[in-house]
Amino acid sequence: MKSSRIVLLVYIVFLMLPIYWLVNMSLKTNSEITGPLTLWPTQITFQNYVKIFTDSSWYMGYVNAVLYVLINTVISVVLALPAAYAFSRYRFVGDKHLFFWLLSNRMAPAAVFALPFFNLYQAVGLFDTVWAVALAHCLFNVPLAVWILEGFISGVPREIDETASIDGYSFPRFFGRIFIPLIANGIGVAAFFCFMFSWVELLLARTLTATNAKPISAIMTRTVSAAGMDWGLLAAAGVLTIIPGAVVIWFVRNYIAKGFALGRV
């Protein structure tokens, strides 16, 4: 038993080391970073973080990213709920094919869509707005939400639907009052995964924005300047992108596997 714990411990140390190194660097001055290597900051500075929170060209990157992620999450979950219910409860023309087609979009490589999306959103005049990125991310997040929610809804016995209808509940009232509270966990998990996959994606977000709606992950590349690399600033920006995920992960810790396996575990 003891020896097996060591495997876990070593693995977690391996996971934490690079993250520690990033945090470590974000608290150093650039002269300390480029000087002789130190395992922890000799004089802690928060200058890098102050710079990000006071310079609008930096913090707007976070605002943009959070905006399109939230828009995308709301659209995905709201649209996916009735669809997941339909897939779980009824048979209809083309249901199997449609379900597979959704999955195939979840798995589609973003690189294939980068150029056509660029053309499409320029044509409809949404280029360089948070809406373009929010809608583009629907390509993989709506199918993801449908699959996850379908997994959760199938875990709710159909007798509940039938009982509610015998008790005289209209469908919308049943759906809002009884059913949604029953699958609240599933909705939370679906929302978390939509949030996450939209948050970590860069290629589409970078391609569809120019100046006004650039997300933080794309702005980070700006730290390369004529004066050389601003490593401390880069590290601080990186640390701040890890925080949103780290904050919410605690609430979904028991469902992470289920979410990644598209509701199928």
């Binding site: 876990l8 209809f92 199997k96 199938s154």
Partner: protein, 304 residues
């Protein structure tokens, strides 16, 4: 949505009204752009937005290993398969080993789960940045340590070092996914099974082969397919670390595709490449779907 339960489900085409919004938004995001891609793939241009019909010319060139484009494609495809194979060979056994060593109850479980999941939630280019910095010999812990030990390690110029870096990065980034899936499978094993095994005096290996492995085989299939598909589409992380180099040593299909499409604006070539790439993914996806539904059917039959 499949299996025996299907037979009990009522047939009702009005369910389409509930699916319609999803259908419309995904069609807008997927079908429209794919139509542009198909359109580009059969045309050529000399600029100025004038296009002429090129038939299947681009596809011929793409699948001909002797042409410039075809050679590039075959090379990148080979690198993709090698990469996917290597990371699966490392991540699956490592993931199982870590999952087996997870605690089974208490706060330790929650803490381990959160720490394990952390790399999965980091934006992909930040993952790249983390490893780009971590591997540098002047400011990164890994590079500095290796150089200090007298090992010639430089991922910018060395092909082997570049490959080791991106594989190590992927192992760091995604092994937790395998761990979490396996752990979910292991948790479903009732304690009575272990007690019975202890009474029989079964060895650790026997317990693994007879009790644990069968229980996680289902999630393992899911893990392998998910990891294969995601690693096959990898773009951001290696792009940030190596930019596809040294030379073309770490240029995967995605990286090449973006280079051709957004870098050179070579629309015909990029579109033909996109379609072939997408077809490969679609095939694997179909396997994934079939396995998923098959497994669900089998499970329902057991429960009934």
């Amino acid at each position: 949505m499949t299996g025996e339960a299907r037979e009990l489900k009522p047939y009702n085409n009005r369910a389409w009204f509930m699916v319609l919004p999803v259908f419309l938004i995904v069609a807008f995001s997927a079908v429209l752009p794919l139509m542009t891609v198909v359109n580009y793939s059969v045309q050529d241009t000399f600029g100025n937005n004038t296009f002429f019909w090129n038939g299947i010319g681009w596809f011929k060139e793409l699948l001909d290993p002797n042409s410039e484009l075809g050679g590039r494609f075959i090379d990148a495809l080979g690198r993709n398969f090698l990469f996917s194979f290597l990371i699966l060979a490392i991540e699956i056994p490592l993931g199982i080993a870590v999952a087996l060593s997870m605690p089974r109850q208490g706060v330790a479980v929650s803490i381990s789960l959160v720490l394990l999941a952390l790399p999965l939630l980091i934006p992909w280019n930040v993952v790249g940045t983390i490893w780009q910095v971590f591997g540098r010999s002047d400011i990164g812990l890994l590079g500095w340590t290796l150089t200090g030990l007298g090992i010639d390690y430089n991922y910018v110029s060395g092909v082997l070092a570049a490959w080791i870096t991106i594989i190590l990065m992927d192992v760091w980034h995604w092994t937790s996914l395998v761990v979490l899936l396996c752990y979910a499978g292991l948790r479903a094993i009732p304690d009575a099974f272990y007690q019975a095994a202890r009474i029989d005096g079964a060895s650790r290996w026997a317990i693994f082969r007879a009790i644990q492995l069968p229980k996680i085989s289902r999630v393992l299939v899911i893990a392998v397919l998910l990891r294969f598909m995601d690693s096959f589409m990898i773009y951001t992380e290696p792009f940030v670390v190596t930019g596809g180099g040294p030379g073309n040593a770490t240029t995967f299909i995605s990286i090449d595709l973006v280079k051709i499409a957004l870098g050179q604006f070579d629309l015909g070539k990029a579109a033909a490449l996109s379609i072939v790439y997408n077809l490969i993914i679609l095939t694997v996806c179909w396997v994934f779907y079939t396995v998923m539904t098959h497994v669900e059917n089998a499970e329902r039959r057991v429960q009934l």
